[in-house]
């Protein structure tokens, strides 16, 4: 596990959407997957996970369903909805654009100001 980076609320929502877009997951599974696809660099604070999930569900971006986990225990699975997919695409585009702009600013050399 690498150093914990500070995460803003909006970013967490985006990461959850992305994690879930790769296939339905329960809450703990979302945690694991984010950790996994970040290459071990990112660990979500557990206290803020479920509020985020509930919020996203309230907004209709993910939908939940009760199902059975790997070891046959009852768990709630979340999957991405059509609205969620659209939102994820939009947020990804925004993020990339923003990252480009800020990156450009930050990489300015003094004589180019």
């Amino acid at each position: 596990m690498g150093k914990q980076l500070e995460l803003l609320q909006g970013t967490l929502d985006m990461l959850i959407l992305k994690a879930v877009s790769l296939g339905p997951l329960h809450g703990y599974g979302v945690l694991l997957r984010i950790h996994q696809i970040s290459g071990g660099q990112l660990e979500i604070q557990q206290g803020s996970l479920y509020p985020a999930l509930y919020r996203l569900e309230h907004q209709g971006l993910i939908a939940s369903e009760w199902g059975e986990s790997e070891n046959n225990r009852k768990a709630k699975f979340y999957r991405l909805t059509a609205d969620g997919r659209k939102k994820l695409q939009k947020e990804t585009a925004n993020w990339n654009r923003m990252a480009g702009v800020i990156g450009g600013i930050l990489s300015r050399k003094p004589e180019q100001a």
Binding site: G27, Y28, P51, Y54, E57, G60, K76
Partner: protein, 893 residues
């Protein structure tokens, strides 16, 4: 997305336990899985579980978060606040009770006024765009408005551009015989355009057509829905059936929708029939009838524009009038006013003044509750400090305190509404006769909405400010013990004093108004009426004239009744008369122009009351003659017809350059009337109004064929009876005599003259009674405020009192000191009240009679009363202060 939100919100709200169980299951699963992973990495099971639980956080927090993420936080907060407020209020029953009573009074009075205003000034009319319907009236150059001639109406219809349609009508009452029953109804003879101008077509059958107004074709009838239900048994095939109206056959052609009425001032069942246009009616002559007229404004037009246009048209029509004088003085100007406004003209200003009085009462109530809340907030300062110290935001605390105030306000408003209904029921008889509203006035949505708004406003006024102050107070001293003895901040103390002064001032305004009105009523009661009102009974037979078509009721019924009554034991005199003075409900006017030839004076217009009275009336009513004689036994049916006039009439004749002896009226062929006497004036229209000119013919001389017979002896007749003993004893005997003579007399009404006089003062008496209520309530509330403040001060300063007494201060000095403080507040309040009263003097001047708004004695008396009451209310707390046990006071730390 919206639907998903609503669904999840609903689930959290309505299925809370289920949702929380789900959250719990989910979190449990999470903890299990995480623990398993930790165990796999080498931790012990208990350690792993502990770690997992710790990282996730308390489950209850997660549950709460799950609710908040669904946007339920405001709702949860509100429920919590309400529960807390309810508990707090229950713990202090004295405070809660007082506040509820005060608010019930303050808001209840407003609720009653809203209901009355809603039923009168904002009255709902069953016509689309009712505000565009205007009432039209003509007047002479400087005269008062009156009904319109048909010929003029026709010209207006043809030429006017500001109105979209014109209709006219006249009122009558007729006896309807129908399969379901028979009764007297309000029958309106109307133009064919009436319903289309109003914009409401009949629900069944057809509307009137212009052809229906042709003479001979007018025997068709449109019914109102209540009439259809009761008298025609809601017959679905009613169209085309017949009914008899005043014994003439009419065909029913239509039924209006339910809840439709026109005109709006009449609460009796109504039917409408077309007015036939005869040659007589089309003349421009005072013998042609006149009609009430309405019109519908074109969009964008105002009543004054319509009035101006029609006046212009009318100026060109006046020269067409046939009689010489009417050419110069005929109907000249046209005024158009909104129909709704004409419905309550005379009561409008009284209503608005009462609204002001009620608003003042509300302000007093709010001030009182505000100071109570301020005092209470000091007592709860510690609680607030603790909450803020524990991390509550200021706003959150203010919101909670405000919710308490709102709860009180709504509870007070509900109690007030119940009070209002009770008050309206108690006053319903007077109200319905004065204001032409139905006797039962239930609250409707508009009233309830206004009440809700008022509750919110009240809560804001008295709860918000103290709450805000509470949160601004410094925390540390509040958290420590001994706050109660260190006294409150200067600011709050001053505000409380200001509240009490304001309450006293406003109460004084109401008290002064009440005092002035009571003096007005007293003055009115002592106005010399001009005749005797004691031991006089007035009998009003209510026989439908159409029941005895072709029979002269006077000969057949009233004269025999008079004779029988005169023979009764206990009756000393009795007489027939058209109408007794001060009695409302009928009016017969004789309009004439008098100008003596060669006198050089301008012709004078006289609108004289026209009556027929029997020779015994002078004995019954005991008025005096100025000159000449009244009727006596020598005036029989065969001698020369005579008449008397009153002084007002004679004065007008003199102003026209002549004398009453020169006047001569004609009753018909060879029947010229001579005026034989002038009565002293007495009040006929109202105790506060001057005497109306009047001319009385001798009832025993008039024959059915005479000119003036119909308006004075057929349209309306009353029997005036002077009794030798208490009038109440005779009433049952009278009833027996009447029913013996004819069963139609059973419906007759019997009143004493004193009652009639009292009814004529109706509006002032009502206003005085209401003000007594308001001013009394205001005084009570203000005194309660004063008492409360002083009690509170004493409690605050118990320690100080103890020290003073221990240092040797005498007890009566302490009482003096506190009474002095109270006295200062009272004087300040009284000065404020007098200043306000002075400023609003003009508002009340219009209602007064016999007393000025700045009347010295009234103001002094009322102020002294207030100060004395205030000192009395302050005595108890003052005495308590002087009784403080110095040892106990010094010890309580």
């Amino acid at each position: 997305m919206m639907i998903a939100r609503i669904r999840s919100w609903w689930k959290a709200l309505a299925h809370r336990p289920q949702m929380e169980a789900e959250v719990e299951t989910e979190l449990q699963f999470h903890i299990e899985r995480y623990a398993e992973d930790l165990v796999r990495n080498g931790m012990s099971r208990e350690e792993a579980l502990r770690r997992a639980r710790m990282e996730l956080g308390p489950i209850s927090v997660q549950k709460e978060e799950s609710r908040f993420s669904r946007g339920l936080r405001p709702w949860d907060d509100l429920v919590a606040d309400l529960r807390y407020a309810f508990r707090q209020l229950r713990h202090t029953p004295a405070f809660t009770g007082t506040v509820l009573v005060v608010l019930a009074l303050g808001i209840g009075a407003n609720a009653a006024m809203f209901t009355v205003i809603d039923a009168t000034l904002l009255r709902w009319l069953p016509y689309p765009h009712a505000d565009r319907i205007v009432s039209l009236a003509t007047s002479e150059k400087n005269g008062s408005p009156s009904w319109v001639f048909f010929a003029d109406l026709e010209e207006w219809r043809r030429q006017a551009h500001t109105v979209d349609g014109l209709a006219y009508y006249t009122d009558d009452s007729a006896f309807l015989q129908a399969p379901g029953g028979e009764r007297v109804l309000s029958t309106y003879r109307v133009s064919a355009s009436l319903f289309s101008v109003l914009g409401v077509p009949p629900a069944m059958g057809r509307d009137f057509l212009p052809e229906d107004q042709a003479p001979g074709r007018e025997h068709v009838l449109v019914l109102s829905e209540p009439v259809w239900r009761s008298l025609f048994l809601a017959d679905p095939d009613i169209i085309g059936k017949q009914a008899r109206l005043d014994d003439v056959a009419y065909t029913v052609i239509g039924v209006m929708p339910g809840r439709f009425f026109f005109p709006a001032v009449d609460s009796h069942p109504q039917v409408w029939t077309p007015l036939p246009i005869t040659a007589e009616r089309s003349k421009r002559d005072f013998s042609a009838g006149t009609y009430a007229a309405i019109a519908r404004l074109r969009p964008g037009m105002t009543p004054s524009m319509a009035g101006a246009e029609l006046s212009g048209i009318q100026h060109r029509l006046t020269p067409l009038y046939t009689q010489v004088l009417s050419r110069e003085r005929g109907p000249y100007n046209v005024t158009a006013s909104k129909y709704r406004d004409t419905l309550v003209t005379n009561a409008r200003s009284s209503l608005l003044a009462l609204v002001a009085a009620v608003a003042v009462l509300w302000l007093i109530a709010c001030a009182n509750v505000a100071s109570l809340m301020l005092a209470r907030s000091v007592a709860r300062q510690r609680e607030v400090a603790v909450r803020v110290a524990l991390g509550a935001s200021r706003w959150r605390v203010i919101r909670q305190l405000f919710t308490e105030g709102l709860l009180l306000s709504l509870a007070g408003a509900t109690a007030g509404l119940a009070l209002a209904q009770a008050a309206l029921a108690a006053f319903s008889r007077t109200l319905s006769s004065l204001l032409t509203v139905p006797a039962h006035l239930p609250p409707n949505w508009t009233v309830l909405g206004a009440l809700l708004f008022l509750s919110l406003l009240s809560a804001t006024l008295f709860a918000f400010f103290p709450a805000w102050l509470s949160t601004r107070a410094p925390l540390e001293p509040a958290l420590r013990q001994g706050l109660l003895q260190t006294g409150q901040s200067r600011g709050r103390h001053r505000i409380q004093q200001a509240m009490v002064v304001a309450e006293i001032g406003l109460s004084l305004v109401l008290l002064i108004a009440c005092g002035l009105l009571l003096r007005t009523v007293f003055a009115l009661r002592n106005v010399p009426v001009g005749f005797r009102t004691d031991h006089v009974l007035i009998l009003e037979p209510k026989v439908p004239p159409s029941r005895h078509k072709g029979v002269d009721l006077n000969v057949a019924l009233y004269r025999p009744l008079l004779n029988r009554v005169k023979e009764m034991h206990g009756v000393s005199a009795a007489s027939l008369t058209t109408l007794v003075p001060l009695h409302k409900g009928f009016n017969s006017l004789l309009s004439l122009y008098y100008g003596a030839k060669n006198s050089g004076k301008e012709p004078v217009r006289i609108d004289a009351g026209l009556k027929a009275v029997g020779p015994e009336l002078k004995e019954v009513l005991g008025f005096r003659m100025n000159r000449g004689r009244f009727f006596n036994q020598q005036d029989t049916a065969d001698s020369q017809p005579v008449a008397v006039v009153n002084r007002a009439f004679a004065d007008l004749i003199a102003a026209g350059g002549g004398t009453v002896e020169q006047l001569s009226f004609s009753l018909g062929k060879d029947r010229n009337v001579k005026i034989v006497g002038i009565m002293e004036d007495f009040h006929q229209a109202g105790l506060d109004r001057p005497s109306v000119p009047e001319i009385d013919f001798c009832a025993s001389q008039l024959r059915p064929t005479d000119n003036f017979y119909q308006p004075v002896l057929q349209a309306h007749v009353e029997l005036a009876i002077r009794t030798s003993e208490d009038p109440a004893h005779i009433v049952s005997d009278l009833h027996r005599v009447m029913t013996d003579l004819s069963p139609d007399l059973e419906a007759a009404s019997i009143q004493t003259m004193d009652q009639i006089v009292e009814d004529s003062m109706g509006s002032q008496v009502l206003a005085a009674r209401l003000l007594e209520l308001f001013a009394g309530s205001a005084l009570l509330v203000a005194l309660a405020g004063l008492y409360g403040l002083l009690t509170y001060l004493v409690t605050q300063r118990t320690r100080e009192m103890g020290v003073r007494i221990a240092l040797g201060a005498q007890r009566h000095k302490i009482i003096e000191m506190l009474l002095g403080q109270a006295g200062r507040l009272l004087v300040a309040g009284a000065l404020l009240g007098m200043a306000l009263s002075y400023a609003t003097a003009k508002v009340i001047a219009g209602f007064l009679y016999g007393v000025e708004p700045h009347d010295g004695p009234t103001l002094t008396a009322v102020t002294v009363l207030l100060v004395l009451c205030g000192l009395a209310a302050s005595y108890l707390p003052a005495r308590r202060a002087s009784r403080v046990d110095p040892m106990a006071a010094l010890r309580s730390e």
